[in-house]
Symmetry: C2
């Protein structure tokens, strides 16, 4: 078997720093190709009893993520424990609901439990020949010249050095691997915080584990300068996230007491608040998370080190694409290995960053763009009408018009191309909408003529 491999795994083991979602999937990809893969993770093994889950309980998996999971044969397994969300349901201040489908009939994004997904990927990685997992290993520093990790065992506190030949940094937004690259000359880097924090809260399950809101939807309470969302869990509960300014008249700073919180929630989220009996407790016990966009370049150091996932490009969560983008990094790297073989790492690392950097930059912009859409525009009937008209155009001109959201979420079109096409389509919609007062206007001959003219000019 080993004789069939184009290289000797023993001669060149691969090292992955970080066994979160992207690190565990990457390890699986690399080991399936026949590589020996050593994986180090700062935290304890999340599959052991007593493990404390960190941030965001559920995530939205979409096509790019599914594609990457399919590549290691785990997609069907995960789909079993995901909940399809076929659209957004907007809740106004009176509790009225408006529904907007995410895509065509049958298209959906999936609410998936982060912990479950991570544990499943770790199980698969551990069962895979060639993978060795090492938990509780904090990276204190990296000697890039000596190709050596300096680790601390968080159980024994003992420090030790581990040599590497190829190091993959999948250790997240606050990556220790990136920190080592950042100390090199000519390393571009930025971290940009939104003036918003987030707080995770819970809508409880109803009697018998029933969902108290529509199950197959992502719920949004858009309030202009802030918003709350909710994603369904399998047990009938919803995980809510409030995205809220740090300062100002309606802000974290302004809600100081349990009574403040309840009064505020009752006023602005009247339909949700009765479903959140733990609100006061959770609001003060759960940490306030920050929202950062991290960009850097280069993502590689010679042919020794490569950054992937949040370590290379952390984004804000408003497009539900952070994990999907990191998973797509894994499938793209796998394609490059198919293309160039498993030995020419210099070419692979160079092509990886050249291909992925503009796409993940575009995704970072898209994520901030969608923040404004979710907190503000989805509450505007004109905006929702525009989305309906756009769906009609897409249906009338199949293959020639794909709404931006669909390109990002339900296609593998590179993010940068999707963003550029989306901006062109937005410009067309801006010219079209003044002629349209209602959904039925779309069928008016003059509107149809306009649409046709725009489509011709586009070609």
């Amino acid at each position: 078997m080993a004789a069939d491999l184009p290289f000797s795994p023993a001669a060149e083991p691969l090292t992955v720093m970080g066994a979160g979602l992207v690190g565990s999937l990457l390890s699986l990809y690399l080991a399936r190709r026949g590589h020996a893969v050593q994986v180090f993770e700062r935290r304890a093994d999340p599959r052991r009893a007593g493990f404390q889950e960190g941030r965001s309980i559920n995530l939205a998996l979409s096509d790019r993520g599914w594609h990457a999971l399919s590549g290691v044969g785990v997609a069907n397994d995960i789909r079993q424990v995901g909940i399809a969300m076929t659209g957004r349901v907007m809740h106004d201040v009176q509790g009225n609901l408006t529904r907007q489908p995410y895509g065509r009939e049958g298209q959906a994004i999936y609410s998936v439990n982060r912990g479950h997904l991570n544990r499943r990927l770790l199980d698969l990685a551990e069962a895979q020949t060639g993978v060795s997992l090492h938990f509780g290993q904090q990276c204190l520093g990296i000697d890039l010249k000596k190709q050596q990790l300096h680790l601390r065992d968080t159980t024994t506190q003992a420090e030790h050095d581990v040599p590497y030949r190829r190091l993959f940094g999948t250790d997240g937004a606050f990556s220790a691997v990136r920190a080592a690259l950042q100390r090199q000359e000519r390393f571009d880097y930025s971290q940009d915080y939104l003036e918003y924090g987030y707080k995770e809260l819970t809508i409880e399950a109803g009697p018998g584990g029933a969902w108290q809101l529509e199950k197959n939807a992502l719920h949004i309470w858009p309030r202009g300068q802030y918003l709350m969302i909710a994603l369904p869990n399998l047990d009938g509960s919803f995980n809510c996230t409030l995205f809220f300014p740090y300062e100002g008249p309606e802000s974290f700073a302004a809600l100081q007491t349990p009574a403040d919180v309840t009064a505020f929630f009752t006023r602005v989220f009247p339909d949700a608040t009765p479903l959140m009996p733990a609100l006061e407790k959770e609001f003060f016990e759960h940490p306030t998370g920050s929202l950062v966009t991290i960009r850097c370049f280069p993502w590689k150091y010679d042919d020794d080190v490569l950054l992937l996932g949040d370590a290379a490009h952390a984004i804000v969560p408003f497009y539900g694409q952070g994990m999907n983008a990191g998973f797509e990094d894994c499938s793209v790297l796998n394609e490059l290995l198919d293309q160039h073989g498993d030995a020419d790492w210099a070419t692979i690392f160079a092509e990886f960053q050249q291909q992925r950097k503009p796409n993940n930059d575009a995704m970072a912009d898209l994520a901030v763009y969608n923040f404004v859409e979710m907190r503000d525009r989805v509450a505007d009937p004109r905006f929702l009408l525009q989305k309906k008209i756009e769906a009609k155009i897409a249906a009338q001109y199949p293959g020639r018009w794909t709404p931006l959201y669909s390109q990002v979420t339900f296609s593998h079109t590179p993010y940068a191309e999707a963003w550029a096409a989306g901006q062109r389509q937005d410009a067309i919609m801006a010219r079209l909408m003044p002629h349209i007062a209602s959904e039925t206007d779309y069928d008016q001959p003059d509107v149809q003529a306009l649409v046709q003219q725009e489509m011709v000019e586009r070609t």
Copy 2:
């Protein structure tokens, strides 16, 4: 005397980290106000024999810098050892010269020796009651909660902690004080490198210390994708700086041998090369410097810590404003102390960053903008004609039109306002220039009518 002060210096000594140009000037400002000021500097005392000068030998001082130096009464003293540069002299590939004045008659920027200026400011600071200077003190870390510096004495290697109440970070582009702030949540930060490095070289003095190029000018060899500049020194030499791509057909990477260097310089800088007998030696012995723009925010931590100068806003050198911007930070802080008194540091720090951040952001953009102007546009006769026409407009409409360069260099107009006005004026010039083929065309009635119309619309 002490009884007249509105505060007790003993109760609240001030701490300055970094005794470079901005740190030494700031210390002088603060001590002149009656504060006790403790200054720590990583390097050895530059006034001691054997001190190794670091980067860039000479700097261009302009009005903002002079204003700040005047505030502590040192401007006249420095002007004695500065060399007025009244314009740019462009050298083409044939060695032909073109001159472009910087401003009106009598306006100039000044070539000043960095080391001399720093030593003079340190002498003044040391002589000032209340200032204590501590050299060879490297900041290893800062405990922001405990308000404590962790320093290493670079002579004895002994580490010690020093408490502070107000800490001013003037420790440059790679600031240790900023690094401590950066570890806080919600600290925005970016470092952006140009794909260009710089190399310092020397045009020697002629016989008897004569200047071999025009003394009172900044010399530029614009070559499209790269450039060299030269500033005069008092000893008859010029300090040259080559700004050059790291990679590519004409780049640092492409010049590997002394013969490569001489052949390249002889071809592209034919008039300068014979005046640079140490070229080959210097090219390989002098380090290649990198060019970074650093932005961050906030610049303060509570009412405890404030960043100024390059620590808050390092820029590329192409507008000659890095030091001037840092000096202006000092005079602006001094004005805020005049306005709010010497005790309300919370207000002063908050107003300082609110006022200076947009201006130094604009200056960072201007510096990159001027890179393109210096390496490329100044070689274009149409561009030089435009500058002449602009000077005519400025002369015809005094007080209503000030060229961008003059606003940045010869005024105290906030940088952001200067940049905005410059962009408006650029748009007008773009409409005007198609009607102008030569300098004399400016007096044509139709052109005069156009100019007048633009000026009316501007009002």
